[in-house]
Symmetry: C2
Subunit: 339 residues, 2 copies
């Protein structure tokens, strides 16, 4: 992939390789990427360096999940011929641009970033905030701009990151006296964040409320059986609630037949439709969705050499693209470009 014409949209997304990807990733982002790769040049970054920003003392956790995530991508249908999948730590330009951008962003500006503020609180960092974590919005701006991405699929909690990136683009371009870096726009996902199977707002491995893309038939069965519905819906004949009912949230997210889901919802609210029946419908839908994903994933994860080979190919392409941006920035700053 050569430098894309500036009129063409370029997509960048990515994941921190902190564990296997799950249904939440699929609903919120992965299936959108499968669609996007047919329309635009797309880069997907396995963000191992960013994964280390809050796992600095357990690098093995990040290292062992790089190929797990790679296998997840291929299994859901990300096509390495259409999408450039690459590894953050293999791309020196990303670190170099981060170093350059850090000089035009104040510490108080990064600290004011609402996403970072929230995450610092959630993760319970106070005196123990790693410098790398504080800096990661700048590193993300380096990622986005290095690829010349102008469309960035994110959740709405990530909008402040896009804003911060555009601030950096604006400052850098005015320093460089040329529009070297591209402004970017968030592509918000159609599906809002998928809740955990227990009804908690967020799917998270540490809460044990996820369903990975590798989940076995039995795991899917157990997850759906245990799924949170309407605790007030005691008899089948009782009217049931849809709001906060995870089974219906998942049916909305994954069932291919919207009319059928609408019908079920009406029936459930009216009374006369049992939880068991709804769960059966959902389980069938999830089994159908995940069976081929699981099968492909098993095949891929068994061939780590192939996975690493593909990741290397993508990273080489990405290296070329990101070096172009780095060289343009360095030249703009007047720094020698030696090799």
């Amino acid at each position: 992939m050569t430098h894309s014409p500036s009129s063409q949209h370029v997509i960048l997304t990515g994941d921190r390789p902190t564990g296997q990807l799950h249904l939440g990733h699929y609903a919120g982002s992965l299936r959108q990427r499968v669609e996007l790769q047919a329309l635009h040049p797309q880069y997907i970054l396995i963000a191992d360096l960013q994964g280390l920003t809050d796992n600095g003392s357990q690098p093995e956790k990040i290292a062992r999940n790089v190929l797990e995530v790679m296998a997840d991508y291929l299994a859901v249908g990300i096509d390495p011929l259409r999408t450039t999948i690459c590894l953050q730590s293999a791309l020196p330009a990303l670190a170099e641009l981060t170093m350059l951008y850090m000089n035009i962003v104040t510490v108080s500006r990064v600290k004011r970033n609402p996403t970072v503020k929230n995450e610092i609180q959630q993760k319970g960092f106070s005196r123990s905030l790693p410098t790398g974590f504080l800096v990661y919005p700048i590193s993300q701006a380096a990622d986005i701009t290095a690829f010349g991405a102008d469309r960035v699929p994110v959740g709405d909690d990530q909008l402040p990151m896009i804003e911060q990136t555009n601030e950096i683009v604006h400052k850098m371009n005015s320093l460089l006296d040329a529009p070297v870096l591209r402004h970017c726009t968030a592509l918000l996902s159609a599906t809002s964040r998928l809740p955990g199977i227990d009804g908690a707002a967020k799917m998270s491995k540490s809460l044990g409320n996820t369903l990975t893309l590798a989940a076995s038939e039995e795991e899917i069965h157990r997850a759906v059986s245990a799924m949170y519905t309407d605790p007030g819906h005691l008899r089948i004949s009782d009217p049931g609630k849809i709001e906060g009912n995870v089974v219906f949230t998942y049916l909305d997210a994954f069932h291919p037949d919207r009319d059928k889901v609408a019908e079920m919802k009406a029936h459930y609210q009216q009374g006369g439709l049992g939880d068991r029946q709804c769960k059966n419908e959902l389980e069938e839908c999830l089994q159908t969705l995940l069976a081929p994903v699981r099968e492909r994933r098993q095949k891929y994860i068994a061939d780590k050499e192939m996975l690493m080979g593909l990741l290397k190919q993508g990273s080489e392409k990405a290296h070329q693209r990101t070096q172009e941006t780095l060289v343009a920035v360095k030249r703009g700053l007047g720094l020698p470009v030696m090799f």
Copy 2:
């Protein structure tokens, strides 16, 4: 230069290319480096990235001084065949190691670094502290360790930087489960910081009290004439004070004949030795020292292609050495090393 045996000392020093080097640099560091290059493998880093940490908005100031500093090095006798002179921004491993080290250093730890604390105060940063400036001790640790340097010539105000580097070495090595990074020791300069010609504690271009290595005969003459002595020494026959008398501080720093300086000091303190005579002695000594430096410098700075060529050669060597360290760190962390 290949990987030096671990028993061999390796030296790293450097300068931020924020202006031409001056007599203060010469007395405090450059002449020591000329001696050291005969004894040990030595790297000198033109720290343009670090220069940008507090010049983020005026990159042209840093860019235009890179070759000025290179010319200064050659002019004082740094020999590129013995010393590897290299450019920080040309060495991606330094940025990449900085990114990795940032995850094991907390924000509060960097802020506690007394050198950084002082400098933040001196430079009047408060709400406007650039992130890159806060992070620069970690970047310096990346520099030192990337070269495998175990001897670092610094002023005593820089000792906290060495301490912080060794903390990072300790943490990284324990994460890597192998002594991949080398601990380092400060080499304190024999000469303490040279005062400005006006008697101010620090030579600094912004105070206009420096004498650059490129100073003309006339500039040297004027600087010595204007030099601060003992304001109480009104008549030649009066006893004069040596303490705080810049002429004697400079004679101590630069006169080759220590006995003669000792004799002059005794005579001055006793009374009967005039300021003019002392200044003549100093001027002669500085003219002798700087004339060949100035001549060589003029020749070198006229040939920027040659300067850039030498800097490129050094940077290529340095690239190999620093990549070795980066690869060892990545392997130790379990991260893929792709190319």
